[in-house]
Structure formats: structure tokens, C-alpha cells
Amino acid sequence: MNTLERPGRHLAGGGLARRRLAALAALAVTALLPALALAQEFVKVEGKAGEDVPAGPFVAIAYGFIWIAILAYVVFIARGVGRVRGELDELRRKLDAAGKR
């Protein structure tokens, strides 16, 4: 009898535990439902409504970049002119040296 009662008691205990687990899960889902519902809709936030990005730095960086790029290009051209002048001077020296020989 003992051997028959033990499995019976064990089964009854297991069923109870499963029922308790199911009840807990149902409770958890019920508690989470409003949160899940809230995640699916937009809610107005009081106070700071939008991203407040100051415009001044953007305008300053944009204008600064444009003028620096143009200035850098002028410097690039000036260096090119300098190199060409250097090459012309070298040619002139070579021709002068050849003329003196």
C-alpha cells in the first residue's frame, strides 16, 4: 500500500505545483499586459518635448569648412605655381651655364 500511496501522493503534489506555476504565469502576464499595450502606442511626454540641438555650431562649422576648403585650394595652387617657378629657374641656370662654356 505504501508503495502505491507514494506515487499517488507524488502525482497529486506535482499537479498542484503545475497549477501553482500556471497561476503565477497568468498573474505575471496579466500584470505585464498594460506595459505591453503601452509599448505599442505613443505617449505624450510632459516637459521636454523634442531634441534641443543648437543651430549656431552647425552654421559655424558649415561656413568654416567652406572657407577653409577654398583657402586650402588657393594654397595648393600657390604651391604649384611656386614649383613651376622653381623648375623655370633651374632651366634658366642650366641654359646660362651651357652658354658660359
Binding site: F58, V59, F65, V84
Partner: protein, 227 residues
Amino acid sequence: MRALGPGFVAATVLAAAGFLFVPGLILAAPLEPVMGFVQKIFYFHVPCATMLFLSTFACAAGSVAYLFKGSERGDWLAAAAGELGVVFGACVLVSGPLWGRKAWGVYWQWDARLTSSLLLFLILIAYLLARRYGGPGARKLAAALALFAAVDVPLVYKSVDIWRTVHPQTTVVPRLDPRMRPAFWSAFLLMTVVWGLLLALRYRLEAARAEVATLKLETEDLLEART
């Protein structure tokens, strides 16, 4: 190198005056009600974009002259305009996203206008790289690339009308508030003068380089004949 003419000096004086007065006009122009102060980027962003288009067309025109007529002058013009296209393209691609960050909340969107502009910029960079590192015959290959760049320009311009984009449409400038027009057109004139000056300077430099290369060969021949 020949001396710079009176036209060049006059244009430089005009550009210097522009640098002094145009920022004041831009600051005095009324604020755009939706975007606010960040809309001031518009006054130089749009002229830079126009100069990018002009540079690309000049580069393509010079390339056509070089490809089909063998014109060296055409090649010099194409080289000068190609570099200017990269300079003004960089200005457009930096000032635009800065404006977009404030106006749209993001620096970049892969929409038709922004993507086709980036493509144009990359083609112009490819043009310069091909010229510089392509080896013999690279100038012709680069000239062909310039034609592709020119084909992209109408696509960039009309992209905002053809496809749905976050970028403002081409009707913005014609419908500009009359109180904003003096600032816009003076900035546009300043940028055009600066573009013309830079193109003239760069063209002369390219011509001088070619002249020096010829002189070097002649000098070497002369010196060899004497020895």
C-alpha cells in the same frame, strides 16, 4: 607664366568685397519660421552645389574637346574644373548633412538627392585619381569618366522632383521670400566669382606645367647637341 590681367584683379577685388559684405546680408535676412537659424546654411550650400554642377560641365566640355579633337587646352580646362568639382562637392557634402542634422534629425539619408550627389563626387574623385595614377593613356580614360559625371548632374538636379526625398525641391529658389533674395543672390555671385578666379588660376597653372615640360625637353636637346 604671364602676368594676371585687369579682369582678374577686378574679380579679386569683387570677391574681397563679397567676403566683407555677404555675411552681413545673410545675418540680416529673416529667419525661416520652421528651421530657424540653421537655414542660413542654405545661402552657401546652394551656390556650392551650383558650382559643383558648373565644374562638372566644364570638366566634361574640356574632356570632349580633348577626346575628339586632341585639344591640350581642353585637357587643362578639364583638369582644373575636375579639381574644383571635388572642392565644391566636399563643401556641399559637409554643409548639407550639418543642415540635415538640425532640420531632419539625422546627418544622412540614402535618398535620391543625397546618394546621386555622393555618386557625382566619387566620379570626380575617380577622374582625378585616374589622371594622377593611371599611367600612359590615363588622361583619355579620365576624360571618359568626366562624361559619366556630366550625365549624373541632371539626375542629381531632378532627383528631388522625380523621387520622394527628404531634401527640399527645386522650387525653393524661385519661390524664395523676397527679403531673402538679396542675401542669396549676393552669396551666389560671390561664389561664382570665386569659382571663376580659382578656375582661371588652376588653368594657368596647368598651362604653365605643360610649357615647362616642353621647355625641359627642348633644353635637354639643346644641351645634348652642344656636348
